[in-house]
Structure formats: structure tokens, C-alpha cells
């Protein structure tokens, strides 16, 4: 058996309530690692083109990777893969917490849920005896994710949906502990199967190739994290909300449905403000994570609950022109409890506000007005009244009411909180990422707009190169499955501590910006492992690992997603940005928006695709991607 894997895939058929444990496909694991990569390969192979994402034919795949089940910091995420009901293309999301650890400890790498139960059901997996129970879940149907997990108890770890998933809100997520696999509508797919929850626990040990080396090295990584200015300090103090003031100063904080990149009251929704005024505690709800980016705040009627993260602060805050942190915290709690992605929710609300402002939709919503939003969020989750319309997301709303130029989605998935007009590489990433308008499938903005060492985000240099490298890295991390925040540690403390206005940092930035093809070549070299995820992969699986290997794995996974999308009709015509991003300038001196048309041809070329955006047979063969 391959080291780092439990060696088993649990197949569950809800239609006839049967299950079996099958051996892990080692060829798939060796090519696609696990997590998102393994899940995508299964999805591609097992489904016919054109299936309805909410039909029993769409499998819902929960997948761990070789780092899960270890105590490596940030190795606590599982991936969920299915066809997305939101985009019609590849759907995937990852989630922290402790479910992935419990899954691996139950001796399971992957759970494939297929079919559909006639009645609401939940599944309990006994990770010691391998027995599975299908339990009627009528008593839980309609309950929120927090209450559901509380009723299910603490003996097992749970992945559950709330009313949004039950009602097939197209951006419903799957919640575990306080974390959510938020994007792509994976919760709607779970709801379409009438599956309320999966619960499991086990006590099996992960077999590693070199456990002693892993143990010693992990100790040193914990120290590195503790001493790191971001992972060990600012993320602890401010959470992800610590970036609000930065994106605002860089003019890329979505404001008023992405019309602007600057919000005058941004400070009131920042991580620093939260620390000073609202914070009730710092908590990482992800097992074995020393970063503790999780916030705790008080919400009236709910007590001390998980606080909003950056994306939520932006999409439900500045983007709606709301600066009341208490309101945003309440909406964040509601969305989590109802089981919804706050990014898609926020961008859909802002779209509805602009439609209303332009007289295109009769709805009682206004920028800057908090009244009525809590009720509307509940209506979305329950598909009541106008909430039923918002439950389908901004793309479908624009098809019904018009306004496609300012419906802020890519491929049907709402864009996250970095305005690409001030972050060109991030714009290319949004346009080309297979699951749609997302930032954690690459996080290019870190290297151009927000991190300690950034290049000029508004010229063409490296703007097609960075997304390729970052998307490949993210694909690999999401297959191990490791939190992408770990990549923020790539830039060493020494650089963080340099004078940000000093000559050495400016020179470094210039050198980086002018690396040209050297940037990708340096990341694609196969040699000894450098970064911790490479070393862990090597110590756990025994396989050689380096930045070059990671780029190869990631490129393979990315291309597989691409050909899945093409098969499902999500083609290169959807490699674009909303017209507002392409046409409307937000910086003085700009005459239009993001220069995507100048960057896409180069991006396709670097990818080894033809100019129509189709992967060539040569690149598929090179990466061993079977179509």
C-alpha cells in the first residue's frame, strides 16, 4: 500500500442504501495525489457529459490527501468534488476543521456518495468496525448547521448541510465544525441527494515513509510558523480581516458591487478594528493549526460565534457599503448556520441592489442600508419570495432581469474580494480558474497587490505567468490537502522585515518583475524539496518531491479540470471577466479596465493550449492526462 494513504475508497449508494470499501486506485493517487485531484479524476471517469448537477447521476466526492491524518500544521482540509450546479463545470471546495483528520483515522481516503435517498438521511461511519448506518434524518431536516452538529454530538466529526443545501441554493456549502466548503454549490448537490450529514471517527494511524524525519522536521516548521510575521503574528492578531485596510489602500476592496475599489469606512470592518472592539477570542477550529486565524465575536441571540473572514467583510460589508461590524457578524453567522457561501451571497445581494437602483428589479434593498438583509438571507436559504430568485446567483439573475455587465461572476461563480483592475494577474486567474471567480485557486494577488514583496500590479510583466504557477501550486495543495494559507509563508520573515520603502526591497521587486520566463523555470525545476509541503510529501509518501514536481502535479490536475469543463460545455468563451472589470477604470490615468485580451493569449501559450484555449494533445500527453 502506498505510504500516506489509508488505501481505501468508501463507495456509498444512497438510492439502494448499500456501501462497499474498495481499494484506492494507486495509479490515480500517483498521478493526482488525492483530494481535489483524485476527486476530479473520479468525476471525469464516472460521469457522462451533460448530466444534471442536481441529479442522482452527479457523485459527491469527499477526498483527503496524503498529508491528512498527520499532525502537519494546516493539513486539516478535505476536498469536495462534484459537477457544480452553479457553473455547470467542475465544482470543488475544501473545508478545514477536523473532519479530514477523522476521515483518515477511519481508514478512508475518499468517500464517493452516489444516487439519491428517497427521504432525508444521514450516514454514520464507524471507523473502528467499518460499519455504516443509514439513519433517518427527518428530525434534522430544516435545522441549521450548528444545531445539527450539536445534536449529532461530539463523539464523531461531521460534515453537514443547512436549509440552503436542502433547498438547493446554488451556492450552498457543506459545513464542518465552524468551517465551510463554501464554493461551487457542493451543499446543493448534497441536498439534492437528501443527505443531511456524514459523521465519522476512527483511531487508525497514518503510515509514513519516514516518520522520524517527519516528526523532527514538523517541529522546526512549527517554529518557523511561530516566528513568521504573517502566519505567527498578524494572522493571529487580526485574522484574515487584517487585509481589509491593505486592499482598501491599494484600491482593490470591492465597494458598491465592485464599482469602486475603495471604501471610506473600511477601517470599521477591518481585522484591527475587530481586535479592538469586537473580538471575544482567537480560535483555530482547524485541528493541528498553529496559525489560529479564526475569530470569535458575539452575535445577539447566538452568543459567541465564529467571526467574519476577509471575504465576508468585503462582500457583505464594503461591497454593500455596510460598515457595521455587528451586522456583518450576524449575517456571517446566519449564512454559516444556513449553510451558504458568503462570497456568492454578498455579490448576489450587491447585484440585486444595483438592479434595484437602476429600476430593473423591485426589491427592498439599498446600498448602505442594513435593514431587511437578515430576513432576506433567511429567505434565500429557504427559497421564499424574492429569496428564491437570489438563491440562483447573479448570473441567472442577470439572464432574467438584465444587467449582465455588472453581474460580478466568472463562469457563473461570483468573484471574490480582490478587484482585478488593481491586480492584473489576479484578473487572469479569475478568468481562467476552472471553478470560476475564485481567489484560493491561486492567490496571485499575494505576489502583486498585498504581500510584502509585490510587483507592479498594473503592467503586463509576469501577469500571465504568475497565475499559471500559482494555480498549479494551489491545485497541488488542494490535493494534499493543505490549507492554501501555508503558501503565504513562502516569503521568508527576512523579507517581511525589510524596510518597505527601502532600496533593497524595491530592487528585489524589480528583479522579480523582470524575471520573465525565469520565474516559471525556477519554479519548475526538479531538485531537492525546499518548501515544507514538498518535504512533508516526501517524508510521508517516500516519493521524490520538489517545486518542479508540484508544478507538474498541479498542471496535470488543472488540465484535467479544463478538459472536464470543455466536455461540459464550459469553454474558452467563458475565460473572461465581467464587463465592468474590462471597461470601467477605477484608477486615475486608466482609460479602460483590466487588459485581459492582452494577457490571455500568453496565458494559453504558457499552458500549452492552442489560441482557442484548448489543451493540445502534446501537453495532455506530456502531463499524462487521459481524456
Amino acid at each position: 500500500m502506498m505510504k500516506g494513504y489509508a488505501g481505501r475508497v468508501l463507495e456509498i449508494n444512497l438510492s439502494n442504501r448499500t456501501y462497499s470499501y474498495e481499494p484506492l486506485d494507486e495509479e490515480i493517487a500517483s498521478l493526482y495525489i488525492g483530494g481535489k485531484g483524485y476527486g476530479t479524476r473520479l468525476l471525469y471517469d464516472r460521469t457522462d457529459a451533460g448530466i444534471d448537477a442536481l441529479s442522482p447521476e452527479n457523485p459527491l466526492i469527499f477526498a483527503t490527501g496524503p498529508l491528512n491524518g498527520s499532525v502537519a500544521p494546516q493539513s486539516n482540509r478535505f476536498a469536495v468534488v462534484c459537477k457544480s450546479p452553479l457553473t455547470g463545470g467542475i465544482g470543488n471546495a475544501t473545508c478545514g476543521g477536523s473532519f479530514a483528520y477523522a476521515m483518515k483515522r477511519s481508514g478512508i481516503d475518499v468517500v464517493v456518495v452516489s444516487g439519491r435517498s428517497e427521504r432525508p438521511v444521514r450516514i454514520e461511519i464507524d471507523g473502528k468496525t467499518d460499519e455504516i448506518e443509514f439513519i433517518d434524518a427527518a428530525d434534522l431536516w430544516g435545522k441549521g448547521t450548528y444545531e445539527t452538529q450539536s445534536i449529532l454530538g461530539k463523539k464523531k466529526k461531521h460534515a453537514v448541510i443547512g436549509p440552503a443545501g436542502e433547498n438547493r441554493v446554488l451556492y450552498a456549502g457543506i459545513v464542518s465544525d465552524e468551517r465551510i466548503a463554501g464554493r461551487s454549490g457542493v451543499g446543493a448537490v448534497m441536498g439534492s441527494k437528501n443527505l443531511k450529514a456524514i459523521s465519522l471517527e476512527g483511531n487508525r494511524k497514518l503510515e509514513m515513509d519516514d516518520p522520524d524525519a517527519f516528526k523532527a522536521y514538523t517541529k522546526s516548521v512549527r517554529k518557523l510558523f511561530a516566528d513568521h510575521p504573517h502566519l505567527g503574528s498578524s494572522m493571529k492578531r487580526f485574522g484574515t480581516g487584517g487585509i481589509v485596510n491593505t486592499t482598501n489602500a491599494r484600491n482593490i476592496l470591492p465597494t458598491r458591487n465592485f464599482k469602486y475599489g475603495h471604501f471610506d469606512d473600511a477601517m470599521d470592518i477591518s481585522g484591527e478594528y475587530m481586535e479592538d472592539n469586537e473580538l471575544k477570542g482567537v480560535k483555530s477550529s482547524c485541528i493541528h493549526c498553529p496559525v489560529t486565524c479564526g475569530r470569535q465575536v458575539e452575535v445577539e441571540g447566538a452568543g459567541v460565534v465564529k467571526g467574519p473572514e476577509y471575504e465576508t467583510l468585503a462582500l457583505l460589508g464594503s461591497n454593500l457599503e455596510i460598515s457595521d461590524l455587528k451586522e456583518i457578524s450576524e449575517w456571517n453567522y446566519l449564512a454559516d448556520d444556513l449553510g451558504m457561501d458568503t462570497i456568492s451571497l454578498g455579490a448576489t445581494l450587491s447585484f440585486a441592489m444595483e438592479l434595484r437602483e437602476k429600476g430593473m428589479l423591485a426589491i427592498d434593498l439599498e446600498f448602505g442600508e442594513a435593514a431587511g438583509i437578515s430576513e432576506l438571507i433567511r429567505d434565500v436559504a429557504h427559497r421564499s419570495g424574492i429569496g428564491d430568485v437570489l438563491a440562483d446567483g447573479s448570473k441567472r439573475m442577470s439572464e432574467r432581469y438584465g444587467g449582465s455587465d455588472f453581474a460580478m461572476h466568472v463562469k457563473g461563480m461570483e468573484m471574490s474580494a480582490y478587484d482585478p483592475r488593481g491586480s492584473y494577474a489576479q484578473g487572469v486567474e479569475y478568468a481562467t480558474t476552472n471553478r470560476g471567480g475564485c481567489h484560493v485557486q491561486g492567490a496571485s494577488m499575494y505576489l502583486e497587490s498585498v504581500g510584502p514583496l509585490t510587483i507592479n500590479p498594473q503592467n503586463l510583466k509576469l501577469k500571465a505567468d504568475i497565475p499559471v504557477v500559482q494555480q498549479n501550486l494551489a491545485c497541488a495543495l488542494n490535493s494534499m490537502v493543505l490549507c492554501i494559507f501555508t503558501s503565504y509563508g513562502m516569503i521568508p520573515a527576512m523579507v517581511h522585515n525589510m524596510n518597505p520603502n527601502g532600496l533593497p526591497l524595491r530592487a528585489l521587486s524589480k528583479v522579480m518583475e523582470n524575471l520573465g520566463p525565469m520565474f516559471r523555470m525556477s519554479m519548475s525545476m526538479k531538485g531537492p524539496p525546499i518548501f515544507w509541503w514538498e518535504k512533508w510529501m516526501s517524508q510521508i509518501t517516500g516519493a521524490p518531491m520538489s517545486s518542479g514536481h508540484i508544478q507538474e502535479y498541479g498542471g496535470r490536475i488543472f488540465n484535467l479540470e479544463r478538459i472536464y469543463n470543455l466536455r461540459e460545455g464550459v469553454g474558452a468563451d467563458q475565460d473572461t471577466l465581467p464587463r465592468r472589470m474590462l471597461d470601467e477604470p477605477t484608477f486615475p490615468g486608466m482609460t479602460s479596465g483590466h487588459p485581459l485580451d492582452q494577457l490571455l493569449p500568453r496565458y494559453y501559450k504558457i499552458r500549452g493550449w492552442d489560441q482557442a484555449g484548448i489543451p493540445t494533445q502534446k501537453i495532455l500527453d506530456k502531463l499524462q492526462v487521459r481524456s
Binding site: 504573517h230 487584517g242 518597505p500 520603502n501
Partner: protein, 87 residues
């Protein structure tokens, strides 16, 4: 001619205001000196906060322009900005 100066969170706590209007600045260095003077008047330490902040003009870092010598125009927004990560 004047520019708006947006302070970092910590700077605004120290000065008790978030924004300053500065008349007739020639370049970024003059803005930095202006803010430093405000700190001196308040008896606060500017160097601790300024050494962790870059300066952006209308969202673009001065590092990508002409640094502290970058000339300013009427209506520019000059912001003190910290590096961050998140998501």
C-alpha cells in the same frame, strides 16, 4: 491644490483621525514629513509605524513609481499601507 492622506490603522489610532488634508505637497516625501510632524505635535512615535508601511498613491505603491520623489497632483489620495495576507 491639496491631497488626501489616509493613515494606517495604527497611525490613525495614534493621531485620533483617519484622514488628513494636506495643501500644496510637491512629492510623497513632503507628505511623509507632514504626517511625521503631526506625530511630533501629538508626542507620538512615527518611526515605529512608518517603518512597516509602504505608501500608495491612488492605490499604486510609490515603489512602482518614483519612490519618495513621486510628484503629486491635486486630488491624489496618499495612503499608508501595510503588507498583509488573507483570504
Amino acid at each position: 491644490m491639496s491631497v488626501t492622506v489616509e493613515l494606517s490603522y495604527d497611525m490613525s489610532k495614534a493621531l485620533g483621525e483617519r484622514r488628513l488634508e494636506m495643501p500644496n505637497p510637491g512629492c510623497v516625501r513632503e507628505v511623509v514629513s507632514y504626517v511625521e510632524q503631526k506625530f511630533v505635535e501629538k508626542g507620538a512615535d512615527f518611526s515605529l509605524l512608518s517603518k512597516v508601511t509602504s505608501v500608495a498613491i491612488n492605490g499604486v505603491l510609490t515603489n512602482h513609481r518614483r519612490g519618495m520623489k513621486t510628484k503629486l497632483e491635486d486630488g491624489d489620495v496618499v495612503a499608508f499601507v501595510k503588507a498583509a495576507s488573507g483570504g
